[in-house]
């Protein structure tokens, strides 16, 4: 094996940038807290906390999508991702960090502000009884602070725990003992077991209950069976874009010699395919409600399609559907580092906008302004992510040297 650069080192520039973004974000959060958070008007407080909420949930879910990618490819006995597998693993170390932030924000909304807040209407049981809202009263078995607490702890806790076990298993790939066929088989088998546990838990949370609890219950009267898959698709396609960005960054710095356009092509295919999948869900949700035209269903789309969120709502569709289908369709774009970088940034921005309108479109109905607070909070999360993912990448070799499937990845052809 040729000597290759396999130990990542965090550059001073990267550290400076990540700390600068974090500082900028922290200032924005503090200023936002003073501006909105300390207001005596509950609606102003809701705007501040909802901004923190959608950002923390978005960034946690896209980092968790990395672990989903690792587990899904493991279960599929995929070999092609092995040469850059340490990158999604490093990104997934953010799940506990962002999970803690998201947990704190959600718990403050549910337990701290309680029945005062209008973010979750189901918290105000007395108010629901007064207005005779039987639709939501019937859902209180599911939508109550106790279940919310337990399920949130379980969801974030098990994602972190199972992700940690997957990363722990991956450490063994640096051990020459894996060259032995029996040890290699047992390694693959233990990977398969942990990955399948993660996938099952992922389906029970991101694939169904968690988006209902955290996001859909903001419009407690309204429901859509597409919603969880829609959220999953949104987070997965952004997660793939994030992986692509990190892979390209590392390639630029001269790491990941075994990763080339063939791997980039496959990452590009994921970005392309799941953009289309997201649009499919977007459209299925929209068209059925448009066709049925029942007021309790159209309430979700009313202020998004016709109201102040109109611009953002359709911008969302253009960025996340029209751009990927037209630009990423060609083979040569998916193999071009510059174009994939551009599209990855665009897709990440587009799905961040998507989460923005999913939450703020219901919390802040009177105007749709992407303010400095939104960008500031996002900068905080991006900075934190760069800082910690860089650290996680530096902790172990970038190439799982003795992974049984590494050869398959090196000779990979799409």
């Amino acid at each position: 094996m040729v000597a290759i650069k396999e130990q990542f080192e965090v550059s001073a520039k990267m550290r400076t940038w990540s700390l600068a973004l974090m500082a900028l974000g922290a200032i924005a959060i503090i200023a936002g807290f003073i501006h909105w958070g300390t207001s005596s008007d509950q609606h102003q407080k809701d705007i501040f906390w909802a901004t923190l909420m959608y950002n923390s949930i978005f960034f946690m879910l896209i980092c968790n999508a990395s672990m989903f990618f690792v587990c899904a490819t493991t279960l599929a006995m995929g070999g092609w991702q092995t040469s850059f597998r340490r990158v999604p693993e490093a990104i997934s170390t953010m799940v506990p960090v962002f999970g803690l932030i998201a947990f704190a924000v959600l718990m403050y909304i549910v337990w701290g502000m309680g029945s005062h807040t209008n973010i979750y209407p189901w918290l105000n049981v007395q108010g629901l009884k007064d207005e005779g809202n039987h639709e939501v009263l019937k859902k209180l078995g599911f939508l109550n602070p106790y279940f919310f607490f337990v399920w949130t702890v379980l969801a974030i806790g098990l994602w972190s725990l199972l992700g940690w076990r997957m990363r722990k298993l991956s450490d063994e790939a640096d051990d020459a003992a894996l060259k032995n066929e029996e040890v290699g088989k047992s390694f693959i088998w233990r990977n398969t077991v942990t990955a399948s546990l993660f996938i099952v838990w992922f389906a029970l949370t991101v694939g169904s209950t968690v988006p209902w609890l955290w996001l859909m219950s903001i419009d407690a009267n309204w429901y859509s069976t597409m919603y969880s898959w829609y959220t999953f698709a949104s987070s997965f396609v952004s997660g793939m874009s994030l992986i692509a960005l990190w892979v390209i960054y590392l390639k630029n710095k001269g790491y990941l010699e075994y990763t080339n356009e063939e791997h980039l092509h496959d990452l590009g295919k994921f970005m392309f395919a799941f953009s289309i999948f997201w649009t499919y869900l977007w459209f299925s949700q929209y068209m059925l409600i448009w066709y049925g035209n029942i007021s309790e269903e159209t309430v979700y789309f009313l202020n998004r399609v016709k109201g102040v969120y109109k611009g953002i709502f359709f911008l969302n569709l253009i960025i996340n559907f029209v751009c990927p289908i037209l630009i990423l369709m060609k083979r040569s774009t998916k193999r071009n580092y510059t174009m994939v970088t551009f599209m990855a940034v665009l897709i990440l921005f587009g799905h961040w906008i998507d989460f923005y309108q999913m939450v703020m479109g219901s919390v802040r109905k009177e105007d749709a302004s992407l303010s400095w607070l939104d960008f500031g909070v996002a900068a905080f999360f991006v900075g934190t992510m760069i800082f910690f993912v860089g650290k996680a990448l530096a902790k172990k070799p970038l190439i799982p040297k003795y992974h049984p499937f590494l050869k398959e990845s090196v000779i990979h052809h799409t």
């Binding site: 068209m287 035209n293 369709m329 083979r331 000779i411």
Partner: protein
């Protein structure tokens, strides 16, 4: 149709086939085609074949389907004979999207199949020459075109030394029944061949 002479070499291993392809091309022989039992990744690249344009054709067929559906439905339902379906606007775009999508897929799929058949000369009335029937079973069959200058015996010895398990000489018709498609092979000096 003109008959041409070919040296047909059969290999039983991908790992032998790739260096052989490279060596044969490096020595200046023209490989007519390599027939394999399954799709071999990277072989098109090693052969120096140009990228197929069937996806461009597919895109054009797809766009044609989109326009046909959108044009057809909007002419009928919004202009020629508007009907009131449950109070929806005459130009009810969301309801048409599935049909537009289906027609896009239909046009591009059927169009690409027909284009593929045309490019590969596949039609009920075309008789194809099979160089080696085992290329659909377990052998990789490399077909090398001979010109007037080619020393057939030398070439046979050369491919045998490259690892071919079976070599013979055949004559076959190679003309295309409509148009041509065999001009675009890149020369070995223009392409970077990697052996996996």
């Amino acid at each position: 149709m003109a008959k041409k002479k070919f040296v047909v070499a059969a290999f039983d291993d991908e790992a032998v086939l790739f260096p052989a392809v490279k060596k044969v091309r490096m020595s200046g022989y023209k490989i007519h085609e390599v027939y394999t039992p399954f799709a071999v990744h990277g072989l098109d690249y090693a052969l120096g074949l140009r990228e197929t344009s069937i996806h461009t054709a597919g895109f054009i067929y797809g766009i044609t389907g989109t326009c046909t559906a959108l044009g057809g439905i909007s002419f009928i339902l919004a202009y020629d004979w508007p009907l009131n379906f449950g109070g929806k606007p005459a130009f009810a775009l969301p309801a048409w999207i599935p049909i537009i999508f289906e027609l896009t897929v239909l046009f591009s799929a059927v169009g690409m199949v027909l284009t593929f058949c045309y490019l590969c000369q596949l039609a009920p009335f075309v008789k194809k020459h099979h160089f080696n029937a085992r290329s659909s079973d377990d052998l990789f069959v490399m077909v090398i075109e001979c010109t007037a200058k080619t020393n057939v015996e030398d070439l046979k010895a050369f491919v045998t030394s490259s690892g071919a398990i079976e070599v013979n000489v055949q004559e076959a018709e190679t003309e295309w029944w409509l148009g041509t498609y065999d001009k675009d092979q890149r020369l070995i000096k223009d392409s970077h061949v990697e052996v996996a």
